[in-house]
Each structure stands twice: as C-alpha cells, then as structure tokens.
Subunit: 566 residues, 2 copies
C-alpha cells in the first residue's frame, strides 16, 4: 500500500496491511536480526501517524530509534528492507543520510524531545509551518534528558507533539515512580495529579489506551493534531510489545533484540557467574544496571540477591552516581553497561567515581566494534575517554578466563576499575593477573613485537602471526591488557626494534598512541592499528573490523615491511 493509498484506505484494508507489515518485519528480523517486539507493537501507531500527518514536510523523531522499521517500510525502503542491518544495507536506526523522511538520527535514549524542540524552534524562527513529533517509549521517559527538555518547553515557547508509546517495557520492564503514574492513567484510576505531571510543563494530555486498535487510535491522532494548533500535546498511547506474535507478547524482554547467530559463549555469562560467587562470599558486593539485566548477564544475580541488585531504568548517569555513593558508604558496586551507553555517564565517572577514588567496577560490554546497530552503538571510544581519567584502572581481558580473574581480583582494588570486553569470547586460560601488568604470550628471536589489546585483537594478532610465520617471519606477542596504567617495565624490557600495537578503539587517545608516546624518543619504530577516525556504520563485526578497524592485511603488510628493513 502506498502512503497515498494509506490515507484513504478503509480500516479493514489497513488492518490487512498491518498484518503484512508484521510478517515482513518478522521474516526480515528472523534472518537479519534486529529489534523485533517493539516494531511489532508499533505497526498500527506508525500507520496512524502516516495517515494523519504529512511526512516528510512534518518531522518525526524516533527516541532511541530502534522502533523505526514500519516507518522505513512506508517511506521508500520496502524493497531494500531485506538488507536490514547489513553492510551497505538499510540501517536499523533513523539516518538522515538514508532518507529525507528520517529527520534526526537517534540510537541512545531520551534525545527525542530535545531534538523535537530544536527543530520546532528553528521552524518558528524561519516562519515555516509544519508539525514536529517526538515518538518516545515509556522506558526512555525515565531518562533525565526528557525532563530537562520538558522543563524547557515553556522557555522555548514552541509547539510539539509528544507521542508516548507505552508498552510497559524498557528492554527490561519499565520501573520507577513515573511508570506508576502511567499505569494509573491507562488503568483508569488516573487522577488530576497524574495528568498534571505533564500539564505543568505546558503539555495538553490526551490518552488512547488500546492503540493497536485502529478504530480507537485514528480519531485520537486526529484530535491530537487539532489540539496541536493551540498547545504542545502529549498523546499517551498504549501498545503491546510483540503484538501479533504470541511468543513475543509472552517474552518481550528476550525478543526485544534478536541475534541471527548468538555467540556460543559470551562475556556476560561469565559476569553473572562470577558476581554470584563473589556476592556469596562478600555481603558488600552489589550489582547496578540501567534497564539491561538480561543482556548483561545479571538475571540470576537479580533473582538470588534482589536486595543487592539495582535496575534503575535507562538512567546511566544516576546509576553511576548511585554506584559511587554505595562505594563511598562501604559497598562494592559492579555497574554493568554497554560501552556506548557508558558515554552518557562520562562526567559522573570523572566527578563522582574517580574524583573520590571510589572502588566502583565498571563492567563494560559490547566494547569495540559492536556490529549491526551501527554508528550510535559502536564501542570504539572507551579506551580513549577512560584512559585519560586519573585514578582509573582500565583493563582489557584477552579472554573470558582472564576476565574472571580480573573480576575476582577487583574486590581487593582500592579504587575504580573499568573492564571492557566484546560480546562474544572464548574461555581460554587464566593467568595470575596483576593490575597494570602486561603478559608476554609469545617471545621469539624476532625484531618485531605486537602489543594487542583485548580478545579480538589478540586473536587477530595470532592470525596475522600465523600468516607471517608461513612466510618465514616470526613475531613476538604481548597481551596489552591494561590501557591504564601501562606496563612500562615490560615495554622497557623488550628489545624488539619494531613495535606494532593493535586495538579496537579509535587511535586518538588509545593504547597505541600512549605506547608510541612512551617510545617516541627510543630507537624503536611504532606502528599503531585501531579504528578509523570516523563513525563506523552497521555491518557484521568481521566486515567492519577489516574495513574500519585494525585490518589483518594492513598489519601483515606492516610486518613484512619491518622484516624487509631488518
């Protein structure tokens, strides 16, 4: 159905179309991976918005943006939709560079209302006329950025429509005081106070509590559009995450994101196992997460120690300060989070945790290139933004066994620690870990040595070394498992003339730059391999590593050249 046809279609035609869209999304995500339950839930709402508003003249900003599949299917991208999340294919998130229908790029939570306000204010200043819509889930509504934006609605004196898509879930179930208000509202036990939560900011509240039903939804959208002539409007719609697929409706948490090929072994499993053991031995061990209990491996911990496990919703900053304060009061907090989302807590890592040298352990998953989610989700900045912070130890385990060893040892560290690791890994062998000490993995008579940071880069180094060995070139290898402090003693002790560094992080501020800086007045030559100085798009991890990360071919060529120079 074209977008024009959609505007005049009957309800029953639209219903059929909705089912077709659901099937398309289901089939594609089953093969390509991606966000399933949220996109199934939002089919009717997206159809409704496209029927009532006029895109691309009107602008819609998707908070987080993972729920934009239907929008993409409706805006000229249906016949390329099977390329979802593939290199050079359709992105799983809104991208201005992909379509004029995508008016603002998102990926992290809570930006939509601020962005809508900016676009609406620019419209007013330019004397233009169009509608601006922020589409936000109830999980994102907990994020502090939303309140900062709501608080400035009256200051900015402009008009926007906020569509609150309430499915009761973040990735995990939504939690907290605001959530209770939403439950009241849709449960019919709402009061003047509940509505006032929004009205005090200058928003007219409207609600439609069964938005998967087009008969109810469409008139509500029309009303909201009319009301928008005189006020900013919050339209509270409830949808069912996973709608139409029983197994998704039953388990929206685990069907939030689908991986076509789940790794055999993940670091998150080890995190969950080790924290459980540590918590048994030490009453002070507590776990903190920002709405991602399952993905980070903490489900069992939350079940076994509910009073010592804190899911504060999509509030990365608050989780960081909370961890700092728990540590200041004698607890040992382990704050698990994805690398890209930890950026949100940057100031709190500096100001609250490291400034007070408090023993918070950041367990940073999805570090390095994370793959199919693209630009907004790559974890390629953490070594840079963490290594510059005083008092922080930054660890990069070479395998899961070493990760476990670092975790166990962390309980004795008198200060903050960050451990960053990719999703997938191999158990491998442990060694006795000492903070700030590298490990020589292979020592040859060669004049070439590689310092590799983290499992992917150690494995990459081994592959390159094997290829070089076939050409008669042997190379030494060091597990550079601490970006801070660097192991200067070990670096000093090595005689190799050619030093190669490998990391899955941008070069600027990374471990390679730091080693090069240290060796810069020696007679050694340093060659650093890392991620390109650009935002890395979506694709498979291996494709992206070769194209934008430390490239196997480039490293091999470097080894050959060093060898030839002698």
């Amino acid at each position: 159905m074209s977008r024009e046809a959609l505007k005049s279609a009957s309800i029953s035609q639209l219903k059929k179309f909705c089912e077709a869209l659901r099937e398309e999304i289901f089939q594609t995500v089953a093969v390509r991976g991606g966000h399933l339950a949220s996109n199934l839930g939002i089919v009717e709402l997206t159809i409704g918005l496209h029927r009532v508003f006029s895109f691309p003249e009107d602008k819609i900003i998707f908070d987080v943006g993972h729920q934009c599949y239907v929008h993409k299917l409706l805006t000229g991208r249906a016949n390329r939709f099977f390329t979802l999340r593939q290199r050079h294919g359709i992105s799983g998130f809104p991208k201005r560079t992909e379509s004029e229908y995508d008016s603002y790029d998102t990926g992290h939570a809570g930006t939509s209302v601020s962005a809508a306000l900016g676009i609406a204010k620019a419209r007013d200043l330019k004397g233009e006329k169009f509608q601006v819509i922020a589409l936000i889930g109830d999980g994102s509504l907990n994020n502090g950025l939303i309140y900062e934006a709501l608080n400035s609605l009256k200051i900015l004196n402009t008009k926007i429509l906020i569509v609150l898509n309430d499915n009761g879930m973040s990735i995990s179930p939504t939690v907290g005081g605001t959530h209770e208000v939403l439950e009241d509202l849709k449960g019919g036990s709402s009061s003047v106070e509940d509505i006032a939560l929004f009205e005090r900011y200058g928003l007219q509240y409207m609600g439609v509590y069964n938005a998967n039903n087009l008969e109810e939804l469409l008139p509500a959208l029309e009303q909201a559009k009319s009301a928008l002539q005189s006020n900013s409007v919050l339209l509270h719609v409830t949808t069912r995450k996973g709608q139409g697929y029983a197994f998704c409706e039953r388990d929206p948490d685990r069907t939030h994101g689908i991986s076509p090929a789940k790794p055999e072994k993940e670091y998150s499993m080890a995190l969950g196992e080790e924290l459980l053991t540590m918590a048994e031995r030490d009453n002070c061990v507590v776990a903190v997460t920002a709405a991602m209990t399952d993905a980070l491996g903490l489900r069992q911990f939350f079940e076994r120690y509910p009073e010592r496990a804190f899911d504060v919703g999509i509030c990365e900053e608050h989780a960081s300060v909370l961890s700092a304060a728990l540590a200041a009061a004698g607890m040992r907090p382990y704050y698990a989070i994805y690398s890209t989302f930890l950026q949100r807590a940057f100031d709190e890592i500096i100001h609250d945790v490291c400034g007070q040298k408090l023993p918070v352990v950041f367990c940073i998953d999805r570090a390095g290139i994370s793959g199919s989610d693209g630009e907004t989700h790559q974890g390629v900045f953490d070594l840079s933004y963490l290594s510059m912070i005083p008092n922080l130890v930054v660890a990069i385990p070479k395998n899961i066994a070493e990760f476990r060893a670092i975790l166990r040892k962390s309980i004795s560290l008198n200060g903050p620690l960050a451990i960053r690791y990719p999703r997938e890994g191999e158990e491998g062998d442990a060694r006795a870990v000492e903070f700030g000490k590298f490990e020589v993995l292979q020592s040859t008579m060669s004049d070439i040595i590689i310092y590799a940071a983290g499992e992917r880069c150690v494995n990459l180094a081994r592959r390159v070394m094997s290829l070089a060995f076939n050409e008669g070139i042997s190379v030494s290898l060091v597990n550079a498992c601490f970006a801070k402090p660097l192991d200067y003693d070990l670096i000093d002790s090595r005689k190799e003339k050619y030093v190669i560094t490998i990391e899955d992080n941008v070069l600027r501020g990374g471990i390679g730059e730091a080693i090069a800086h240290y060796l810069c007045n020696s007679d050694k030559q340093v060659f650093s391999f890392g991620c390109a100085d650009r935002f890395i798009p979506h694709g498979s991890v291996s494709e992206l590593m070769e194209e934008f990360g430390p490239s196997q071919n480039a490293i091999l060529n470097c080894i050959r050249e060093c060898y030839a120079r002698g």
Copy 2:
C-alpha cells in the same frame, strides 16, 4: 558557638550567631573570592540542620557544594576558614579528605539525590541507623539527574530527606516548568497537583516558606525529621540569596561568585561582542547556555535577541541536543559553557552533534586549570575527550584576537567546532585563520621547536624562550592552535630535531601525545609537557600551573638538555 551549644541556644542567641557567620563569610569571600550570595542565604538553614540532626553520624550531601561554607565553619574549620580556596587551604566545596563531616564530594549539579540514595541504601544493607540528607537548590532541581534519582526512590526502597533550598536562582534566575510549580507552592496558590509532583515519587512534601526565619524553620526541620521515620521527605524551604547584604539581595546573579581580582580582559567579553555582530548579519545565529548567561558573556545577546537566545537551566545535555537539532534544521547554534560542565554533555556531543556532523559551535570557557574551585572545576580533560571524536574540529586560540577570527570563520564551517579558552586573555594580534593550520610564531636556526597550545601555553613558551635566550639558546615556536585536525604539513616541514609540546590538559589523549605519535618513527625527539595525571586541587592558576601543569622550570631544563646534546 560550638555545635553542642548550638543545640541548646536560644533563638536570639542563634540569630546573633547567624550574623557573626555572615560577617565571617563576607569578610573571607571579599578577600579570597568564592561563592557569596548562596552562602549568605543558607546560614539559618545550615544552623537549623546542625541543631536538629547529628553530624557526622547523620550524613549531608550538598548538591553542587558551593553552599557549604557555613557547614565548614560549624565543623572544626572556622579557624582555618581564612585559607578558603587557597593552595593547601580550605576547599570551597565539600571534600571527604578534608573532614569526616563532608560525606560526599560535589561540584557539578544534580548528584545529591543519587548520592543520598546510595549512602542510605548501603546503610540499610549494613543494618545501620542514621539519617541521610540531600541539600539541593532549585536550580539543580532542573537537572535531569535529579529526576533519574527521584524515579528510582521507590525502586531502591530506602528513606532520605531532600531539603530543597529554593532561592529562585540558579547562577542565573531559575527557569522552566518545575520552577513555576515551586513558585505556586511558596506563593500560596499551590494545588494538590503541585504537591503531587513530589508525592508520586514517594516523597512526603513539607514546606516552610521563610526559612531565613529561625522561628519558622526549626519546627519545620523537627517535623521533617519525625516524618522521616515513615517516609522519604521533601522539605521545601525558601531562602533569600544574598540575605543580609543589600547589594547581594539586589544582584544575586553577579554576587553568586566573587573574584578577588577580576581579569582585565576576558574571552567571554569577546564572545558576546562577536556573537552580536554575527547575529546582526545572519539570522541563523542563535546562542544556547545552561544557566550561565553572564559568566559566559551572553547578557547583551540575550537582551538584544531574546527570541534567538536560549537559557535552558542547568541542563548541559539538553542544551547540547537542542543545539544539534537547531543545527539540523538550519540554524547556527553557539553553545557557550565551561569546560568542566561540558563533560556532562559528552555523549550528546558524540551521538547528536558529531555523529550527524552538525554545525554546532561549542564555546568552551574556563578551559585548562581554572584555579580556586579545585578538583571538580578544572578544565584539563577537554582536549582529550574532544580530540578523539570524529568530525569535530578542536581549536585552541592563542589570544582573544585569534578567538574572534575563529568565531567569525566558524559560520562557514560545515560541521561541528569546539573552541576552548581560559577565562583571562589578551587581545593581541589576529591572523588569517585556516582550520587545522598551525602558525609559526618564531623561527630560528635552532634545533629546538616548541608547539604550544592556547594562550597560557604560548605565553609560558615565550617566557621560557626568553630565559633560554639569556643563556644563549634560541628556540622556534609554533602556535599549535588546533588539537584536531593536527597540522601534519607544518610538522613535516619543520627540521628541528627536538620537539617540545606544551598544553594545559592531561597528557593522555592530549596534543603532545598525538604529535609524539605522529613523529615517533622519525629521528626527532619529542618532550611533552601538560597536566599531571591526577585531580588538581584548588589554588591560584599560576601556582597550580607550576605545580601540576606544564612547569616553566621543567621546560627550561628540557631545553637546556636538548641544547647540550646538540
């Protein structure tokens, strides 16, 4: 009056004591500089808290922390109070290392409720009994972190007292929707809805609207303490910023912070002047700030172009996304902010501004060592955390004239720009600025060259060069005015064997490391001078520069050694 005497003193004795405290604060701040109006306003409230609660067993967290002077005077620091903000003297902010009465370090806005929750939760887990109080101003209440914390009150299931010290001001007057609710409440026109703003989070609301009056304040504090047995409590107290000093009461904005010696010329003046001129020529120029209009030089801009100037309150993240969206919709936003506070918007710089390559200009004041405010306010991380971000140009003007030239040129840049500068500066001479191009300031026949970043470091280099010249050593000097992109052409063109870099930023991730990395396989020797890898305490800028920053003596010695080696 001792803290014990304070508990049994009569109201009239307390009133006299309050006046004595005011005088002590006024006299000290007049000489030492610091936060005046807020501390004058909070005398009675602090006295009241110390009378009703038992510190240090009970814990108090000061949001931002600039209003802790009375607390310090009451807790064993009165006879050292004249050392306020001096090197080795009393800090202007709470410091756990300074006193057991300071339970949590603060400096940035919005952390107090999260911190109180963490300390209270740890208390519960350990089975301890004491009260935890977050003392927060109405300006900080706008910060998103507060809502993240409030939202998790019910999740964490613990009890805290939030004392909301409402003086109607951030540094600038407080703005926004939440502020209007507070105005209603204390104006007597409050409604159930207003109180519900807090009650929905599980807070019992109590108010005392003339808290500079001890007769009203003390019973209210006693009631809040009792209520705390069964609920978390929000006690809304109104105080008068600057209370007791007419000129402070009249102008609390300008008496928020007092400088004993205001610099003759400040970068902020130039920012205000240039933006006005640019705004006249180009309707798209807009200014954004987070509650710091005056300090950043934007007062005139706000008066001349109120519809194009946005003060969104202490919401650094929202200001960043708002700027991104304004730029996405065709405006040219200039977002002025202090270096240390920009850390709060780190993710939004990456995700919203640079990820979309939007032409937002960050005007970053108080970069480098900022002096008397200490650890939480030094701007020594920005070159590192900004230079690692793709698409961003990072400029470090050598004087105010160059700053103006960069600003004027910024209007033609097709992407984001960060300009970082210290508070004070000299006008100096302009040159034709080209993005990413260094400038040779002095070229000698010497084998030694200095790359200096920013006005302070260029001036430092000149001083050192003059001393070296007296010893018969000449040195070349480059104005390394872009941390990103680096001017590789110029670096390549220079033949000097010894390269010295100077920056007022931590070395890790800074400009020196990047230049060393670039030159690491050349036959050149690189010596980098920057800030120590530690949190830098309070003191004068010059003291701190010599002790923790790039030291004049160390650089001079380096030059001597290079010269001796030949």
